[in-house]
């Protein structure tokens, strides 16, 4: 098994450096649209993070990009082709998704979970090839879940479990990886652990990552491109330094905050300003 199996297998095929893009998509549950005429190109080889206040439609957008939701108008293009025209299995060979709250059945072993990631590449006559086995092992080693392979998912800590799920999306062996709030329910150390992994996948393996995050400081720390959404539209997008300003935080999040430079990285750090005097302010 060589590392090359998990390297990005193909060069970008889309135009303007984007293989996955939304064109004027409107998406909604029922009558009211949650995402309204939104366009977004996911830059290839970069980490893109969608942020925004609760209910702004960021998860809906990600789910639409992963063709879990069908837009009522507009379309999502995968390699320049409407994603709805591409066969389901073929989409899953190019684009992997980690949903927000996936289910792990009781007793499912880590290696079986990661092995499921090979589903798009398997046929009834090719159920477990040596390639499958190699890619799965590589995915587990990359995510440091190899040592956990014989453990049941429900026995793992939150961070370990999330790494196992990411290993599953890696085993899918796609250039494009979409992560829907991969750090929810994790404590800060585990959030950093998971996002460090995401960052390595991007830098060392050339994966294009698009994700939804809640925490603005983590978004600033780990993203090449930050997309800020409010009320179903993109308010602004750019590098963390361009996007995170006191004005934007006030406008979009209704948050009074100072934006400072991280002394170590120079990246912006959002420090909320509270109206309550310091001594009585509870720990965040």
């Amino acid at each position: 098994m060589t590392a090359t199996d998990l390297d990005a297998p193909t060069a970008p095929r889309g135009t303007d450096g984007s293989r996955l893009a939304a064109h004027a998509v409107t998406v909604g549950y029922g009558a009211t649209p949650v995402v309204r005429g939104l366009s977004l190109a996911v830059p290839t080889g970069k980490v893109t993070t969608i942020v925004g206040p609760n209910g702004c439609g960021k998860s809906t957008l990600l789910r639409t990009l992963a063709r879990l939701l069908k837009p009522t108008s507009g379309q999502v293009l995968l390699d320049g082709e409407p994603i709805t025209d591409v066969a389901t299995r073929e989409v899953s060979q190019r684009l992997a998704l980690l949903p927000q709250s996936p289910i792990a059945p009781d007793g499912l072993l880590v290696r079986d979970l990661v092995g499921r990631g090979r589903h798009p590449h398997q046929r009834w006559f090719s159920q477990w090839s040596s390639t499958d086995e190699g890619v799965v092992e590589e995915a587990m080693r990359l995510t440091d879940t190899w040592e956990l392979r014989d453990r049941a998912i429900d026995q793992l800590s939150g961070g370990q479990r999330q790494r196992a799920w990411i290993a599953m999306t890696l085993a899918q062996d796609t250039d494009l990886v979409l992560l829907d709030e991969p750090t929810t329910f994790l404590d800060l150390a585990h959030q950093v652990e998971v996002l460090d992994l995401v960052s390595r996948l991007n830098r060392e393996r050339g994966r294009t990552v698009a994700m939804v995050l809640h925490d603005l400081n983590l978004a600033a720390r780990y993203s090449d491109l930050v997309v800020v959404m409010k009320d179903g539209v993109v308010v602004t997008q750019g590098t963390p330094g361009e996007v995170f300003t006191t004005e934007l935080l006030a406008d979009v999040f209704g948050l009074r905050a100072d934006v400072m430079a991280d002394p170590r990285t120079g990246l912006p750090v959002v420090v909320p300003v509270s109206a309550v005097p310091v001594p009585t302010r509870p720990a965040d």
Binding site: L68, T88, L97, P99, P102, D112, R116, P120, Q127, W128
Partner: protein, 365 residues
């Protein structure tokens, strides 16, 4: 090397079999369970065909099956007992497969055709015909005799399919909402049970008692005409379902994850549900509602094979063992005659209670 350590446990569940560029996952443990189960089943089948009002020793049963023995024994074995035993095996297997499919679909061990109201639809249909037909010989009956003989299984089939259709319509919302399906099923089941009770209360006592006999589920006097529809349904659905096994495994991770893995979730769900309804409907129409077989057999098979969802083929073997075993018990072992349906219920009900208690404990723990 690290890979070596894992090898024995891999082999326990599934071992890769590779021929050139082709590869399969061989479910070793499930295979062993199926083989042992099949041996137990054969034994029970032999016993089932040997006991009765006219006992025939097991070796004579075997020779009669192979065309030997005396004419009387051959007649009893081939004409009377073989069809009934085949019905028992087929119905047990079909109910278990139906249960395994719905439980996998809903990711919930409680979601079996008996609980989703499909069985109750069949019961309502059958009781309606029995009561309306008034088989007890009074004048003014809508139908009687031969019509009732054919009509009851058909009505059961129609009732099951109508209940399933209603279940679909009520729980379909831009796709199959499983939570909704289970809750709707429970409500539907309650309504149908009440309707059946209403029919029984208003029926003449003779009709009510013959309806009650059907309702408990029985394998008495079953012939080839009962076995063939069940066998055909299995022959059609089983291969399709086996092809869907990888998709079933992916769907255990949730609809979103399965869609992400390239599974056409809606289509697979629909196929599963249609197959399960067909299997349950023909089974109930052949042998009455054998309570709890569809619910218990897949769960027992799951405990034996140790995977993360009920195994299809192993569940079928377990289901057949349960029903044939219940038939043997009801006809030979117990000092009084009890319909097989009572025995399967006696096994299943405590298990349901156990499952409810255990899932409650886990939730509060």
């Amino acid at each position: 090397m690290a890979t070596r350590q894992a090898a024995p446990r891999v082999a326990l569940h599934a071992a890769p079999l590779r021929v050139g560029r082709l590869s399969w996952r061989v479910p070793v443990r499930a295979g062993v369970v199926c083989l042992v189960g099949a041996a137990v089943l054969l034994l029970l089948v032999a016993v089932d065909m040997s006991v009765g009002d006219f006992p025939i020793p097991v070796p004579d049963v075997v020779s009669a099956l192979l065309g030997g023995g005396d004419a009387g024994q051959r007649f009893v074995v081939m004409e009377l007992r073989l069809p009934q035993t085949v019905v028992a095996v087929a119905v047990g297997a079909a109910l278990a497969l139906a249960g395994a499919l719905t439980q996998t679909l809903a990711r919930n061990p409680l979601a079996s055709p008996d609980i989703l109201g499909i069985t109750d639809g069949a019961a309502f249909g059958a009781v309606l015909v029995i009561v309306a037909a008034g088989g007890s010989g009074y004048g003014g009956a809508v139908a009687s005799g031969r019509l009732q003989e054919v009509g009851v299984p058909l009505a059961a089939l129609a009732g099951a399919l109508a209940a399933a259709l209603l279940l679909f319509l009520l729980s379909w919302r831009r796709g199959l909402d499983i939570q909704r399906l289970v809750l709707t099923g429970i409500a539907l089941s309650a309504v149908l049970t009440a309707a059946t009770s209403y029919l029984l209360v208003n029926a003449r006592i003779q009709d009510a008692s013959s309806a009650q006999a059907w309702l408990t589920g029985s394998l008495n006097a079953r012939g080839w005409e009962h076995a063939v529809p069940v066998l055909l349904t299995i022959a059609v659905t089983l291969p399709l379902m086996l092809l869907l096994v990888p998709s079933l495994n992916a769907m255990l991770l949730g609809d979103d994850a399965a869609l992400g893995l390239g599974v056409r979730v809606r289509a697979v769900q629909l196929a599963l549900l249609v197959a399960a309804v067909a299997l349950a409907a023909v089974s109930v129409s052949a042998a009455g509602p054998l309570e709890f077989v569809a619910f218990v057999a897949p769960q027992i098979a799951l405990r034996l094979t140790g995977g993360s969802r009920p195994p299809l083929v192993a569940a079928m073997v377990v289901g057949a063992v349960i029903v044939v075993g219940a038939d043997v018990l009801s006809r030979a072992v117990l000092p009084f005659t009890v319909p097989a349906g009572i025995i399967t219920a006696a096994i299943g009900a405590p298990y349901l209670i156990y499952l409810l208690i255990r899932s409650n404990r886990r939730r509060t723990a």
